[in-house]
């Protein structure tokens, strides 16, 4: 297959079009802008819709409208813009409408900065809006993985009728790497049983709705949704385990910081330190089984993030606090260096 050199943001867009995404609604924000620009150039030719919305709020609601009719729809933004989309994402979840949201994270809170960050982990995995719900969260760590995860995210979202997010960051969005685009089957999911496409006088009318004024009715739909979440947790986790078989110090990192951590693990191995890396590719559901496998021989865990420590909560929960979990992170848009991480590994000692 031909290798193309593409920016992460552009690769996300191209992959979405190839995955059968029929519409993109967005609003300009750094560092995801190339994604919208690419869509503006390509979507129309691909027979789809590109529309620059008047706000992030309008954009996510355009996604809600389009996705309610059963088409693959997406929006993308960066951290402050994703906060604005929270309302619409909650409605998507509450209406069981699948769609794709991309967050090319930058530093926060508030207007924050525009450099790469991983400070929206909690938002994505814990509280992507009001109410009792989850969304699927995918964490690519290379441009190729961005491509692969777009298809995976659309498919999984459609399969379970749950919104999906790709949680990237400014580094992955801006960098270029070689990518290939695999052949994919874009129309695998039949949505005719629920989509609002006009009933043609042939069926009952379909209602896309998240309002249940009777508490027992609302409880029933939420409980039903959580049963689906249990299936997702059992079947849809994914992680990379790198040199974990004999590792004594297990690093945990996702996305861009996992690249840094992997470099540090390699350097540690050269020094004879038995380091390994656990890299979740799905953040929700968190790969509980996989991290326990990776940590089975480790005496200590080092969680590395581009934040003040957010995923670390999931690491501790997944391990049931059975091992000490240390943390190293940089925030505000600073990318930790492999040398810094290696220093932390050395501090923790580790069997040689």
């Amino acid at each position: 297959m031909e290798r193309n050199l593409m920016k992460g943001n552009e690769a996300l867009a191209e992959a979405a079009i190839r995955a059968g995404c029929k519409c993109f609604f967005g609003y300009p924000i750094t560092p995801q802008t190339e994604l919208a620009a690419y869509m503006a150039k390509r979507m129309h030719k691909a027979g789809g819709v590109f529309l620059q919305a008047e706000s992030e709020i309008a954009a996510i609601n355009m996604v809600l409208g389009a996705a309610s009719t059963g088409v693959r729809a997406m929006t993308s933004s960066s951290s402050p813009g994703v906060s604005l989309k929270a309302e619409g994402i909650s409605y998507l979840a509450g209406s069981d409408v699948p769609a794709l949201i991309i967050n090319v994270q930058r530093g926060g809170p508030g207007l924050g900065g525009i450099q790469p960050s991983q400070a929206d982990y909690w938002q994505a995995t814990r509280a992507m809006g009001h109410g009792d719900f989850h969304i699927l969260v995918f964490a690519p760590s290379s441009v190729q993985e961005m491509v692969d995860m777009v298809t995976k995210a659309f498919d999984t979202a459609d399969k379970y009728r749950v919104p999906a997010m790709i949680l990237a960051d400014g580094l992955l969005g801006q960098m270029m790497e070689p990518v290939t685009f695999p052949e994919i089957d874009a129309n695998a999911h039949d949505k005719s049983s629920w989509a609002a496409t006009g009933h043609k006088n042939e069926r009952e009318h379909h209602i896309i709705n998240s309002l249940y004024l009777q508490p027992d009715g609302l409880e029933k739909t939420v409980v039903e949704r959580f049963k689906r979440y249990e299936i997702i947790k059992a079947e849809e986790t994914d992680a990379e385990l790198y040199l974990t078989e004999d590792c004594d110090i297990l690093l945990c990192a996702y996305g861009a910081s996992a690249r840094v951590a992997k470099s540090a693990v390699n350097s540690a191995r050269e020094l004879g330190i038995k380091a390994g890396l656990f890299r979740p590719k799905t953040l929700w559901p968190f790969p509980v089984k996989e991290i326990n496998e990776a940590a089975k021989n480790a005496s200590v865990i080092l969680d590395v993030e581009m934040s003040m420590g957010q995923m670390i909560d999931d690491v501790k929960l997944a391990l049931n606090c059975s091992k000490p979990v240390e943390f190293f992170g940089r925030t505000g848009g600073i990318i930790p260096t492999p040398a810094e991480v290696l220093e932390e590994i050395k501090k923790l000692g580790g069997a040689q």
Partner: protein, 252 residues
């Protein structure tokens, strides 16, 4: 015996949650009559708002989507852009359309989205129990303007049709009322024209319907209709504010 009047087929045979004397029922019927007469219910997707008509999805027989507060025009944009062959309408109240959703309203109009917006102006937030709306008249007493709306403190009402008629993208802006039989007939003609516009690809059509809220106005239904005539119509004059099809006719 000949049938001279019946419930339109698109209006589902269920009891609504609307208060006695509320004019939502009339407007629902008018919309459904138009859907039936044009035989488009099977190709129509409606978008309901947050407000009194939040549960309109249980009353309109076409496919329906319930939008977040104020976002119906954005949701409708998403539907229409990806399904240009379908009919798409929103049904929104004044708080939804002219306060929290002003941005979505103005921009869907200026983009000339080929949709129909049915806008219920009853000068009050009904569902939450009678607070000031962007359309509440100066001096009008509501729960949040207990001494009457003082424009010095709370600003002035928004005249939606006038505002939207300044936008090039708006094809048709028409203010009607449902306080009397002649007005109701006029309202239905306007709604029909709005859907015909959509069929012809003319762009954004908004029908503002001056309506009543007897419950939150503290009036009987009959008194409420009288208030609509006495207080609302002078402030919100009825009529066509923009009609590009009339201009096209005039240019012929």
């Amino acid at each position: 015996m000949a049938v001279v009047f019946e419930r339109p087929k698109s209006l589902l045979d269920v009891s609504t949650h609307y208060c006695p004397g509320c004019t939502h029922g009339i407007v629902h019927r008018l919309v459904c009559e138009v859907l039936d007469e044009m035989d488009i219910a099977g190709d129509t997707i409606g978008v309901c708002p947050v407000g009194c008509s939040v549960m309109a999805y249980d009353y309109f027989g076409c496919d329906m989507i319930e939008a977040p507060h104020g976002r119906a025009p954005a949701v409708a944009t998403g539907v229409k852009r990806t399904n240009p062959d379908k009919f798409v309408f929103t049904y929104q109240g004044d708080g939804d359309l002219a306060a929290i959703g002003t941005c979505e309203t103005v921009h869907s109009a200026t983009r000339g989205e080929n949709i129909v917006v049915i806008f219920i102006n009853n000068t009050i937030y009904g569902m939450t129990g009678g607070q000031m709306a962007p359309t509440t008249l100066p001096g009008q007493v509501t729960q949040t303007t207990p001494f009457g709306r003082d424009p010095k403190l709370a600003g002035y009402p928004v005249r939606v049709c006038e505002m939207l008629s300044t936008l090039t993208g708006t094809a048709y802006a028409h203010r009607v009322a449902v306080d009397s039989v002649p007005h109701i007939r006029e309202a239905k003609k306007a709604i029909r024209k709005a859907f015909e516009n959509q069929k012809a690809g003319k762009g954004f059509s908004i029908i503002e319907v001056l309506s009543t809220c007897p419950t939150n106005w503290g009036l009987t239904p009959v008194e409420a209709l009288q208030r609509l005539r006495d207080d609302m119509i002078p402030y919100y004059p009825l009529g066509v504010y923009k009609d590009i099809t009339a201009d096209e006719e005039g240019n012929k």
